[in-house]
């Protein structure tokens, strides 16, 4: 069972990336990279081969669902945890159908995020 992982954070806002980085770092994870949109996420996934990706759903240019498809085309076993704002829960089904392994709704609480990441890393 893998507890700690090399993680790529994808979110178009610096604030959310920094928050997730802090939470994941406090849980002992290694943040290997950050991306601000879906295109960058796919490129960084290919380059860095992280153990897990946290992926914002609503982003400019290529959104999180499209980026998830792109990443799964490179690696069908990719572990991607989707992250979206409250009120966009209708995206959950679509994301899970597309292959997301977990789902986080903003705002979130650090201990629960770490629990979810641990579960997905161990799955």
């Amino acid at each position: 069972m893998v507890d700690m992982g090399r993680i790529l954070i994808v979110d178009d806002t610096l604030f959310m990336r920094t928050l997730l980085k802090n939470i994941l770092f406090s849980g002992g994870h290694d943040i290997v990279g950050e991306a601000g949109d879906g295109d960058e996420a796919i490129a960084k996934y290919q380059e860095l081969k992280p153990d897990l990706v946290t992926m914002d759903v609503v982003m400019p240019k290529v959104n999180g669902i499209e980026a998830l498809k792109g990443i799964r085309a490179i690696d069908p076993n990719a572990k991607v945890v989707m992250c979206t704002a409250v009120g966009q829960e209708q995206m959950v089904k679509l994301a899970i159908k597309t292959g997301a392994k977990g789902y986080i709704v903003k705002p979130f609480q650090a201990p629960k995020v770490l629990e979810e990441i641990k579960n997905v890393l161990g799955s």
Binding site: L19, P107, Q109
Partner: protein, 269 residues
């Protein structure tokens, strides 16, 4: 129907006793010798392995009862289904989201919702969930996909052991509207008034929500302690936050400096 072992609070002390649970009421056999018809119960509050039952009267009588989960579960189900409360048959899903994380194995439970004086109870054959009204943080009517149809549901956000939890209620729209109106009225003290937070204060609020401490917030937002303190004052004044810990910063006295200097010297041979 069944006599079960419990602990009951009597005059501020916990004493071992027994309760006879029947279909329409329960009798505390010892040490209180009190009969409590379920329909006389006006409030039922759950705290860890403890139930606080308030029965009507002048003044109302409160009983604190502790027992094992199996016994409490039976009591909760009997009382919530028969007590003096606004009750409706509904489907509920609780928790659906916990701390921002989707509960992937959450399912709809068929049961009843009982709205009591200070608590809402979701009760099904296998599950009883209580939500204190003062812990309800938001509620809204929204749509959710159920068996490939978009249906109206009540989305309820509430605190549960310091986690923020989302639950859903599914029943006819007219009943949902009655429920939401009641909940809005019962939780009007928690309504956020017109005061708006500036973006930086809102970001601080979000970081507190996520569990960041002052040091992490200062580093993340790159703001000095004094500014963060001012923002905390604003949040406190608006009733949006409460003080849980006051941390001190100290500096060493000359005696302290001498102590540390001595302490780091290598041991003499």
């Amino acid at each position: 129907m069944a006599v079960v072992p419990v602990k009951i609070e009597k005059n501020g002390k916990w004493v071992v006793g027994k309760i006879d649970l029947q279909q329409d009421g329960m009798t505390i056999l010892e040490p209180l010798k009190a009969a409590i018809p379920y329909k006389s119960v006006i409030d039922l509050v759950e705290k860890k392995n403890l139930l606080i039952i308030t029965a009507k009267g002048d003044p109302p009588t409160t009983y604190k009862i502790a027992s094992v989960e199996k016994v409490l579960q039976a009591m909760k189900r009997f009382i919530a289904m028969s007590c003096s409360a606004y009750r409706l048959m509904a489907y509920f899903m609780s928790p659906a989201v916990r701390g921002g994380v989707l509960v992937t194995n959450a399912t709809w439970e068929k049961g009843a919702i009982a709205v009591l004086k200070s608590t809402i109870w979701f009760v099904s054959q296998n599950k009883q969930v209580s939500i204190a009204l003062k812990e309800v943080t938001s509620m809204e009517l929204t749509k959710k996909e159920v068996q490939k149809n978009q249906v109206d549901v009540l989305k309820l956000d509430h605190m549960e052991n310091s986690d923020v939890v989302t639950s859903y209620v599914l029943c006819p729209l007219s009943t949902l509207q009655i429920l939401i109106n009641f909940l809005k009225d019962a939780t009007k003290d928690l309504e956020v008034t017109g005061e708006e937070l500036d973006p930086l204060s809102a970001q601080v609020g979000m970081l507190i929500y996520s569990g960041m401490d002052s040091h992490a917030i200062e580093n993340m937002l790159n703001i000095p302690h004094k500014n963060l303190d001012e923002i905390y004052d604003r949040l406190l004044k608006l009733g949006l936050a409460e003080v849980v810990l006051v941390r001190r910063e100290v500096q060493l006295t000359p005696k302290g400096v001498r102590f540390i200097t001595e302490a780091v010297k290598p041991p003499s041979q």
